[in-house]
Amino acid sequence: MAAVQVCEAEKVYIMHGVRDDLRVDGRGCEDYRHMEIETDVVSNTDGSARVKLGYTDVLVGIKAEIGKPKPAAPDEGYLEFFVDCSANATPEFEGRGGEELGSELSCTLYKVFNNVNSLELRALCIAPREHCWVLYVDVLLLQCDGNLFDAISIAIKAALFNTRIPKVTITEGEEGGAELELSDDPYDCVRLNVENVPCIVTLCKIGHRHVVDATLQEKACSVAGLLVSVTHKGTITCVRKVGGGSLEPESIFEMTETGKRVGKALHAPLMKLLRDEEAQGKQRQKVGFLG
């Protein structure tokens, strides 16, 4: 991870600040930083979104390809995750430097998003045992300033909302086999129901309290944290302890409670924003990287 160095005195300052519910940048313990979201930013994808959270900057592109269902779930499509920790974010990621973090992140994303609770995977099936949609979710880290998981999960939800999969019809081929026919009308497409797609809230234990949306400096003060993925209904779909330290059982319960509350509150404004953006339609000027 793009590590920052923080000396003991700075750590003490940050920890006391968290205790007083006044973080270095003036936020309280449960405040997020300013967030900017835009969808449909790269056109070679079927869906894309860019999220900026403080200086953290991620771009998610989704491509739908036709593949074969996994034998264990013959009537479901599936998602594949790839996180590209590019050298853009920090020179440490040059060459193979970002691979370790990338595979760690993508494993967790797979656990969080690739299940029936988050997405109707059955809707991605074209013909059981034969064909299904595989959604390649590619995450590109452009800048790291802490709290990657939350930013990525929001970007993934936004990109899934933005994803349009072409309609496929199955026709009987001449030799008896089924043939797939892709609709070439760009408006004739299927959209995904993203209602249940969870958002991740990462909580960092600092001193005796915990904070959400930790900056890199704050993360350096924390020995253990909890990653909680929460749906819009407030149910928890995934929990992971992260970091090298241990937690008291009581603080785990407190942290999941906070995570649930904060995570639940993320969904409504996100969906509103995505709908607003869509309502503006073609009139909206794309900002992208030129803004």
Binding site: N44, S48, A87, G95
Partner: protein
């Protein structure tokens, strides 16, 4: 190539451009805050991001450091979703290593490296969307990022591609034209002095046509240079107005 007519009878290209016409260029400097310099460029549908870190202490093995100039370290990568067909790896394949090397050579020619002994300058470029002319977009984006980082250069480096279709030189090829099977040349130019920083050509071309092709590419680079110049001056004006007291 059969079936696809790259140049119409009226002399227009697939996207309606004239042979010597460039695609629309939009660019911005200073996209990111954490890097020393950064820039974003759109050339038609090709979109590239460039980030510059440095000059800074040489990382990794110290033996890489040069006592009389800076080391330029480039990495070219493509977002996995940048192409029509999904790429499996963003970098590390033969093509992108080659591209990284070309970028390094290009910028060693332009950056005044001798001012920074024992240092290293990182230039990382990423193609977000690929529609032909990836090398040129990267060079142009990297030039802007290097200027944004305040690193001294002899001159801009501008790059453009050019190809030969039905005896006509066409410039700034898009993906369809690039994959049409003809000769493609990439040229990086320091426009003011007219020095060529890099020329690359893969396929066969009759010697008689080389001059014409070079000339077309150089003209295109010069006009690109003017576009970049506009971007830099605009940026300069905006920022210097702000800093004025």
């Amino acid at each position: 190539m059969a079936g696809l007519e790259l140049l119409s009878d009226q002399g227009y290209r697939l996207d309606g451009r004239k042979p010597s016409e460039l695609r629309k260029v939009q660019a911005r400097m200073g996209v990111f805050t954490q890097a020393d310099g950064s820039a974003y460029i759109e050339q038609g549908n090709t979109k590239a991001l460039a980030v510059v870190y440095g000059p800074h202490e040489v990382r990794g093995s110290r033996s890489k450091a040069l006592h009389d100039r800076a080391v330029i370290n480039c990495q070219y990568s493509m977002a996995t979703f940048s192409t029509a067909e999904r790429k499996r790896r963003p970098h590390g394949d033969r093509k992108s290593s080659e591209m990284s090397l070309h970028l390094k050579q290009t910028f060693e020619a332009a950056v005044l490296t001798s001012l920074y002994p024992r240092s290293q300058i990182d230039i990382f470029v990423k193609i977000l969307q690929s529609d032909g002319g990836n090398y040129s977009a990267c060079v142009n984006a990297a030039t802007l990022a290097v200027i944004d980082a305040g690193i001294p250069m002899r001159d801009y480096v501008c790059a453009c591609s050019a190809g030969f279709v039905e005896n006509t030189a066409v410039v700034d090829l898009c993906h369809a034209e690039e994959s049409g099977g003809g000769t493609v040349m990439s040229l990086a130019l320091l426009p003011r002095g007219g020095q060529v920083a890099l020329v690359q050509m893969d396929a066969r071309l009759h010697q008689d046509h080389l001059d014409a092709l070079m000339e077309a590419a150089m003209t295109a680079c010069r006009s690109l240079g003017q576009v970049l110049d506009g971007v830099v001056r605009q940026h300069l004006q905006e920022v210097s107005v702000l800093t004025a007291e």
